[in-house]
């Protein structure tokens, strides 16, 4: 189990962390994003998109459930499962999660059966103001190098 927690002190640092993570992602990488409304999940997602070379404006797909960004070497699928709570999970989302891109999933607990065991989990806590605590964990050893670099960079 890889596990690390650190703090950021500005919105730009949360975006920056997204950009930092991006190069460690590959086809079928899945990141779950947890945290209260306004914690910075979409802010992080926009950083990942930038890091993947996507220059579209990233907004929360709460109402669309999923937004796809195809203008990149590896497509990015951004899912927000908030509106799927207790509802029908059969929307074919697994075809994207197990598809040809990278998937970010907000509110993963509402589609828990679709989350692969090797996902990278990120939990963002709002500590007040612009301060955030970011917890990163995974059982996927492919992220070892990322954790090593992360521990050096974020202290």
């Amino acid at each position: 189990m890889l596990d690390y927690t650190f703090k950021t002190h500005a919105q730009s640092e949360t975006t920056g962390f997204g950009r930092f993570v991006a190069p460690f992602l590959a086809v079928q990488s899945v990141i779950t994003l947890s945290g209260d409304l306004g914690a910075g999940k979409t802010t992080f997602a926009s950083g990942v998109a930038t890091g993947l070379g996507i220059h579209d404006h990233v907004i929360s797909p709460t109402f669309n459930i999923m937004k796809c960004y195809f203008n990149a070497k590896t497509p990015l699928f951004h899912i927000d499962a908030y509106r799927l709570e207790g509802g029908n999970k059969d929307l074919g989302l697994e075809e994207f999660i197990e598809g040809n891109g990278i998937t970010l999933i907000e509110w993963p607990e509402y589609i828990d059966t679709l989350i692969p065991a090797n996902a990278l989990h990120i939990v963002i806590h709002n500590l007040g103001g612009d301060e955030r605590e970011i917890k990163v964990s995974t059982t996927n050893s492919a992220f070892e190098k990322m954790f090593k670099n992360m521990k050096e960079r974020y202290q």
Binding site: D90, L91, G92, E94, E95, E98, G99, N100, T113, L114
Partner: protein, 194 residues
Amino acid sequence: MITILVDSSFRDLAVGIANNDKIIDQISYEAWQKQSELLIPELDNLLKRNRIERSDISSVMVSYGPGSYTGVRIALTVAKVMAFALDIPLYAVSSLQALKVGEKPTIVLINARSERSYIGVYQGATVVVKDTIMTNNEAKQYIAAHPDYVISGDTDYLGIEAVKVNPLAEMFSLKQHISPVKDKLGLTPVYLKE
């Protein structure tokens, strides 16, 4: 007697035109996640290059799943709307049966994801095992227990080689064996996942 044939139940998009009992023209290619953009233009092209008017079309045939969540719905929606708007019969078959290998006993498999397979067993128009969903291990065991059956479908994910078929031709061969759908607008996709 023009029949329009449509299948986008998995990775490919296939659209064809049959006149009486013969397919006279068709297109088929990989179109993953692009089927919704391409189906109507391809159908339009086919009709134009064969000089077929909408009023010449006398029936529509489509596969209703199981398969790709979106893909199944795209072909089904287009086929239902055509059958409704033109007031013509709609024929529908299993998308697994549309991958049978002629009259040979065939195990048809499609990746259902999350380590599962859609599986159906067919011999021509006869259903040997009704479409169902199995774990990939169960599917492999079934295949091992039936070495005399041919394998068809999209089986790369199982590391098994499959016989390639023309789904529209296989689908069209079933038309004489089935009746048109009674409640055209009530036809729903078969998804098999709970």
